[in-house]
């Protein structure tokens, strides 16, 4: 069993605390993605789990065992690095064998395993080449192969696809997901790309500035974000935010700075009259109406044929994106009226940025 548990894990460089006490529980066999903007500490957290970076405080538990003082080599993990970190002076075969040689595996067994993994990752014809003679995608496969061949308990991926072009990235995404299904190991995957996170993960941990913002299944994060940051980070295009005050007379009415008003859901959210709140609504849950709602002046129109995107701004200046099915006759410079679909509204406390949802 290789579940991973973090208990108040902290990391400081001098006086700067980069990981501020993270609690996380990853079950055996789960594909967990750490996602967040750059500088959020996700790679540091991964390196702390790997043992390459010592932790300042707290506990890391792998398979029920506290591994704080166990060196990286003995934690039974394998890591795929962002730069691939292949050994440039060794052939692909030597790269794959190196880890097995270090644990004194018999030669015949090494060859057997290397050949098996190479075949699985379709790099068997590259075994005698050196990394510099490989393309980016091939290097990526070798780096994954080097991790797989040692049959680790847990795989760690540190932004493995960020050096690949878009098309290859989609392919490799599928392959890593397939690999996970085939091997059934616990995998932790770090990325800044929320699409990767959404498509691959069993569980997503959203990090910001060294703190865990939310941890859960992808669609839970999408449907029930805990705060404005997660709501804005997960989903593409980004969620729209409209800030205003709940009417002092009626907690089902949102009053905007511009004087416009929007209807708020009566149930599900704990907004109080007079409170400053932020309404979040995904671009595909906006409806164009003839009258009422809020006015959006359209600055840009993207017609993709099957769907259309309108980019504009509210009277108060905040940006607004609309995702409409089919084609639209709205033109640049036009001002349209929109209302959020009532059932799809998210409400956040403007001050604390936390959700007002009642669970």
């Amino acid at each position: 069993m290789a579940s991973i548990e973090l208990k108040q894990a902290r990391k400081s460089y001098g006086v700067v605390e980069v990981i501020k006490g993270i609690d996380l529980d990853i079950q055996h066999g789960e594909f967990c993605v750490f996602v967040g903007p750059s500088g959020c500490g996700k790679s540091t957290l991964l390196r702390m789990i790997s043992g390459l970076e010592p932790i300042t405080d707290g506990d890391i538990v792998i398979g029920g065992e506290v591994v704080n003082s166990i060196p990286a080599a003995d934690r039974g993990l394998a890591m795929v690095f962002q730069s691939y970190a292949l050994y440039p002076h060794m052939t692909v075969r030597q790269n794959l064998s190196f880890g097995l040689e270090n644990i004194n595996t018999p030669r015949a067994e090494i060859n057997e395993k290397v050949d098996g993994v190479a075949k699985m990752l379709q790099i068997d014809m590259l075994l005698d080449r050196r990394p510099k003679d490989l393309s980016g995608g091939q290097r990526q496969r070798v780096a994954i192969g080097r991790a797989v061949v040692r049959e680790p308990r847990v795989f760690l991926f540190d932004e493995p696809l960020s050096n690949l072009d878009a098309e290859l990235r989609v392919d490799m995404r599928g392959e890593i997901a397939a690999l996970h299904r085939r091997l059934g190991n616990t995998m932790i995957y770090v990325t800044h790309d929320q699409v990767e996170a959404m498509t691959m993960a069993d569980k997503i941990a959203v990090l910001r500035l060294g703190e865990l913002e939310q941890f859960g299944r992808p669609l839970d994060l999408y449907n029930r974000p805990d705060n404005i940051f997660v709501a804005g980070f997960i989903g593409s295009p980004k969620m729209n935010f409209i800030s205003g005050n709940v009417s002092a007379d009626n907690r089902e009415v949102l009053e905007l700075e511009t004087g416009e008003t929007l209807a708020l859901p009566a149930t599900g959210y704990a907004q109080r009259p007079g409170e400053a709140v932020t309404l979040g609504i995904r671009p595909n849950h906006m409806q164009q109406v003839a009258d009422g709602g809020v006015k959006v002046s359209v600055r840009s129109v993207e017609q993709l044929g099957g769907e259309s995107y309108l980019y504009g701004s509210l009277g108060g200046g905040s940006a607004m994106t609309l995702h409409l099915p089919g084609q639209t006759d709205v033109e640049l410079g036009q001002t349209i009226s929109v209302i959020p679909e009532p059932g799809e509204i998210h409400l956040f406390d403007t001050e604390t940025t936390r959700t007002l949802r009642m669970d």
Binding site: R47, S50, L52, P71, A72, A73, D74, L77, A78, M79, F81, Q82, S83, A85, L86, Y87, P88, H89, F98, G99, N102, I103, R146, R150
Partner: protein, 350 residues
Amino acid sequence: MGKIWDFLTATRGSTRLHWTDWVSYAYLCTGIFLMFGPVVWLVLSSFKTEADLQRFPPTLLPYAQQTVEVDGYDDALPLFVMTAGEYEGMTLAQLRRVGNQAQMIDPLNPEERLRVNIANREPVEEFSLATENYTSLFERFNFLRFFWNSTFITVTATLLMLLVNSMAAFALSKYEFRGRTAVLLLVVGTLMIPQTVVLVPLFLIVTELGMFNSLWGVIIPGAATPTGVFLLRQYMITIPDEILDAARMDKASEWKIFWRIIIPLSAPAIAVLAILAIMWRWNDFLWPLIVLTQTENFTLQLALNSFQGELTTDWSSLLAMTVLTLLPIATVFMFLQKYIATGIASTGGK
């Protein structure tokens, strides 16, 4: 071969020589003359006899006087051509010489003895290599012993130095520890102290350790050089840390990382340092001169020095041994010089 010729005759334009071509070729030819002139003269002179070396004006090529075997005389007789007097134009062999008169014979008619004035004759000379300069090195002097001493010191000191310096450089470039910068500054700071200043204390230490008059007394003090540590460190910094992390995840020990990852990846810088170390050790003179006093421990450089006596200098042996001393280092340089350019160019960064 064609490639080399194309390179040597490269011009700026495709047709006629541009004036910059003339300047470049003139500059390069001067350079070749300045660099190779002395070496060529050294090699040619090493084949001259002692008498030829003393001659004024000197000649470029080694010459020796022709001799002839004449019946009735045990030794070969030196040949002269007469330039004036009654035998003008004849080639005569000299029997003996007294003052400015010489007794000579015509090799074709050895019975008749002729008396000539030495002003009227010129020696008959031919191009000749005095290979005895070289053979005598092996016969009269223990050349192989000196050669072995030099080789042993150079090889051992170079290997030791590469090992010590690369390990120090690895630690200083890839490990974070308190005082790392201070240690590095200390190492680099020693570059500012001239060797002559530490000569006496170093001598005392070497004597105290019982390495006086031993080859190890030359090898050990040169085992760690600040230049080497600094050069290798600068190179190793450019090796990405992720590769080391990957090796650690692959369960490699730090020792294994050093041998299997760091050393192969630093090969260009190590090659540069190896060349430098070989040249330093091979040409080292001052320190061996101080530590080694017995002839059987002499290096080639010391042996060369011992040819130069207070009153007489054995020039022919000196020159021949100089040539033999140059050969190994020139060979090493020829084979490894390509690493110098690439290695030094890549030590600065990517």
